[in-house]
């Protein structure tokens, strides 16, 4: 088991995306892995309208003892975004030196496609200005694994290189959380994501 540095201050991860992209599965796997690694852990999510294409967020904190389930703004050690513009929407959650892991894809909100609001100006430049940015083409890797819907688990694989758990804890978490018939393709997706940033 990994014996991490001082964890009296929790390690904070925010996961953001668009409803239906699989943020909840991802945060479940992360929180279970933290539990298996021996930490106190809290996983918080708001999912009332999550399936309707809205912006969704979940947060995972682990350490020796975790109180608040909400991560203070600017205190996330890692920000995982399943979509580029959502990364920008939530970037204020991240520490200045945080790793910002982003699936390099964009989903245009209906407010823009219907012409009600202009698209974000300079989105890519603003993201690129972040020193910790890790853009990952998770969708092609998911297709390579065998199913586009495993793009979220590709991101889990990439995230696993940024978090102090042994790989075995991730494997245990995935076996617990993913139905057996989808396990193999998801394990492949995890490995591809892990290799892509490792």
């Amino acid at each position: 088991m990994t014996t991490p540095r001082d964890h009296s201050v929790p390690f904070n991860i925010s996961l953001v995306g668009v409803g239906g992209q699989g943020t909840l599965l991802t945060s479940d796997i992360l929180a279970l892995a933290a539990m298996h690694a021996g930490f106190d852990v809290k996983k918080s999510e708001i999912h009332g309208m999550s399936q309707r294409g809205g912006s969704v967020i979940s947060q995972v904190r682990f350490g020796t003892r975790v109180f608040s389930p909400i991560i203070p703004d600017g205190q996330s050690d890692v920000l995982v975004s399943f979509e580029r513009s959502e990364a920008l929407r939530w970037v204020h959650l991240a520490k200045p030196a945080a790793k910002i892991l982003v699936n390099n894809m964009e989903r245009i909100p209906v407010t823009v496609s219907s012409g009600l609001q202009p698209p974000a100006a300079d989105m890519d430049q603003r993201l690129a200005a972040r020193p910790g940015l890790l853009l990952l083409d998770a969708n092609p890797l998911a297709e390579q694994a065998g199913n586009l819907r495993t793009a979220n688990v590709v991101l889990v694989g990439a995230l696993s290189t940024l978090v102090p758990f042994d790989e075995s804890h991730w494997q245990t978490a995935m076996r617990e959380r993913i139905p057996p018939r989808f396990l193999e393709v998801n394990l492949r997706a995890f490995d591809l994501g892990r290799a892509a940033v490792g």
Partner: protein, 591 residues
Amino acid sequence: MTQTKLLSANQAIAWAAYRSGCRVAAAYPGTPSTEIMEHVAEFKGAIDCEWSVNEKVAMEIGVGASLAGVRALVAMKHVGLNVAMDPLMTFTYIGAIGGMVIVNADDPSLHSSQNEQDNRSLAKFAKCILFEPADSQEAYDMVCAGFELSEKYQVPVIVRTTTRTAHTSTLVNIGSGERGEAPAIPYVKDARRNVAIPAHGRLMRVKVEERSAALRELSETSPFNRADPGIGDLGFVASGVAWQYVKEVFPDAPVFKVGLSNPPPIEKIRAFAAGLKRLVVIEESDSVLAEQIRAAGIPVVEPNTELRMMELNPMRLAALRTELLGDPRPDAPAPETGLPTRPPVLCSGCSHRGPFYILSKLKAAVCGDIGCYTLGAAPPLAAMDTCVCMGAAIGTAVGMRKAGLPNKRIAAVMGDSTFFHSGMTGLLDVAYNRIPVTVMVFDNRITAMTGHQENPGSGHTLLGAESPQARVADIARAFGIPRVHEVEPYDLARLETVFTECLDSGEPAVVVVRGPCVLHEKWAGKHINAVDPGKCTACGACFRLGCPAIVRGEPRDAAGKRFQSKIDPMFCTGCNLCAQVCRFDAIAPVQ
């Protein structure tokens, strides 16, 4: 051997019910309480559980089970308790026999609700025991304790979760995880105890006050109410998840943790406050505890920092820390600006889109209701005038008609689950009083908003057993509505004809728009559509459907203001509404 699991409070509550020997459970779905009953259903052999038609029925089922001597759990969101208050307010007089735990989920910040009412006031009003868990372990422990205390004091017990506790997973020790047995209580027919007529009710009323005195003593000795020592002369009283924020932001301060908060442990708090110069009460949302503590003559500091509205969080408590201790505010970066919003929208292929498009076109006054279809209020459809509470669409439409609204076309719109929940009584009023409004039931045969729960129209129960499918049109006819139509949702011309006929008929009418939820049935049309850029004139008509599959294409003018449309093949379901609104035949099936 003890087991530790990572559980949401909703899951932990189901485990606690199982552990406590709970035998009957009933709920109506509502965010953030819905998952409780879905998890109770995992213990279906041990606990008789159901989706009730509404919260009032769920509460009454709990009352009946408790009076029959078994432990009962009922669950609902905060506004659900409004519906169930009638049975609760008299049941609290009669008193529980088998343990009765009511889990009630408040929604500070209105993440998925129409208001932010703080139901702790209702627990006080109903003179019940109230627990406020701060995490999933406490939710588990408080439900277990709640069953026992409910029996000991013959009182209903309310466990108040919030969206944050309900949907946060934390580590929970569930002991052996095995089923426990509740004490057997034989049923005794006892009219003086259980029949609330005035003569009996007056006797019950006196007993309620005796019980309240006993509960005040209980609160003073409950292990859920405890003072944690700390450093300094500034101290806090905190309840529920707010306690976590206090521990996060004021880690060294003395904190009195209130877990059993009605009745509050006033004397314990008085003793705690005696050693302090300043006492601050941190609670989400109303000043329920602070007012009672102050009324007992204990001075409470009222900070200038706004802490009464919306969900608390560590940032808001950091602002309080600055006010109280003068510490500098921690650096928090400002959010990026100039980003388009991403609100939830009706899904591509949603069966509600076509009817709303036509209602918007017909310029009808639309009284809406609670469900996915409330999203029809958002632009570009903007097809809703009012939304109040479950079932309110019909009564509101009747009131508008009686008020003589200049718009002759008045429609009430609700979904099937809402219709069964509390729309039926409104419809009977329409039939009985012959009110010329058109009631439209958008019937997808599922409770979609909260995640596809079964309902009386779906043909299945919570446990998947087959059941008769209540048919809205048959109910309307049985009530005496003279004009009843059933239509399918993807034929715009037909929708327009039927809607116009009903709205202009001058008599009560019901239109049932029947089509499955695309998220639930994974329904898709025979083909998906594409836009022919050679024919698209960038008129923008298809954008006005608000379909997430229709996206901006190339600009068609020099100023870059008008855009052709494109259809994202990943999201198109082939519902074909866009082809029907295109006047230039630019949208056609992909071959």
